[in-house]
Symmetry: C2
Subunit: 144 residues, 2 copies
DNA sequence: AGTATAATTGAAAATGAATTTCAATTTCAA
DNA sequence: TTGAAATTGAAATTCATTTTCAATTATACT
């Protein structure tokens, strides 16, 4: 987590933003959770230990966390914006259970390669992609 | 388009909903466009020829269009809900240009197969998936 | 240290797409 | 024909996201 925080500090300084105690507390809270978290969820967590920090500051810091490369958007199929750790985390895709909402992070190098090829075939220069497979996890498959 | 409209009529009747002139006009307008369309965009189109039809009815009919299997959600990376034709259209994924916003519909059977395998490997029962590759189309790649 | 300047904060307000409410109207089936 | 059910569209509501603004705080420069 130290590395991430150093990165955060550095990036802020680069763009002449200040490293405030609020920002640090928020980024620490974000780094501690391993979920795909919404702004509201993070706010509720931060508030437990730091009741003086407002929602707006969490919201704005979450933007900074994205901009500094610590987080990226993750879509779990509900309609709220969720963020997941980016720095130090390899790219991966998701299996998302339609019943219980749990998700699994997966990676398949063969698919990645074919995606690249597919794009090239269409003279398209791929930058990033999102692949989400929706269905039923083992537990929910059994229960049905 | 006749086939789609017959399906729509049939599905409505199945669930004891009425085939009204508004619904028909809206579904026809939807079927005529080949874009990934938002509710608002469709409303504006419908309004041109049928100024008496309200936004709410378009919104509700769009839900029905989805439920009857004529449309599915399509995410182009902006934050608005878009719908694309489903019935009679094969599954496909998207290459989405980050610069001009245009998109290309693509399909790769090898990727589809590997996706299925990947899910199975994790004891996951896949139902549907979404794969969007973001990057730059040929035109926008050259311009940069 | 003192002061000017710029950034930060959090409450409140604004935004905007998605959704619901409701009273009036229309359709259907008996 | 008549009562029940469905439909409609305007208006209101919801809810996440984003902006505004006045007060506070940090920083840079004498
Ligand atoms: Mn993830
Ligand atoms: Mn499409
Ligand atoms: Zn599950
Ligand atoms: Zn382009």
């Amino acid at each position: 987590m130290e590395k991430e925080i150093e990165l955060f500090r550095g990036e802020l300084k680069k763009i002449h933003l200040r490293v405030t105690s609020q920002r640090l507390k928020i980024v620490e809270a974000f780094l501690k959770t391993e979920k795909h978290i919404t702004c509201d969820e993070l706010y509720l967590i931060v508030r437990r230990n730091h009741p003086d920090i407002g929602y707006t500051t969490v919201y704005r810091t979450l933007k900074l966390i994205q901009e500094t490369g610590l987080a990226r958007e993750a879509d779990l199929g509900d309609k709220v914006l969720r963020l997941e750790h980016e720095f130090g985390h390899k790219h991966h895709d998701h299996l998302i259970c339609l019943k219980c909402g749990r998700f699994f992070e997966v990676f398949d190098p063969d698919i990645e390669l074919l995606q690249e090829k597919l794009a090239r075939k269409h003279k398209f220069n791929p930058i990033r992609h999102k692949m989400d497979i929706f269905g039923y996890c083992q537990k929910c498959s059994l229960k049905q």
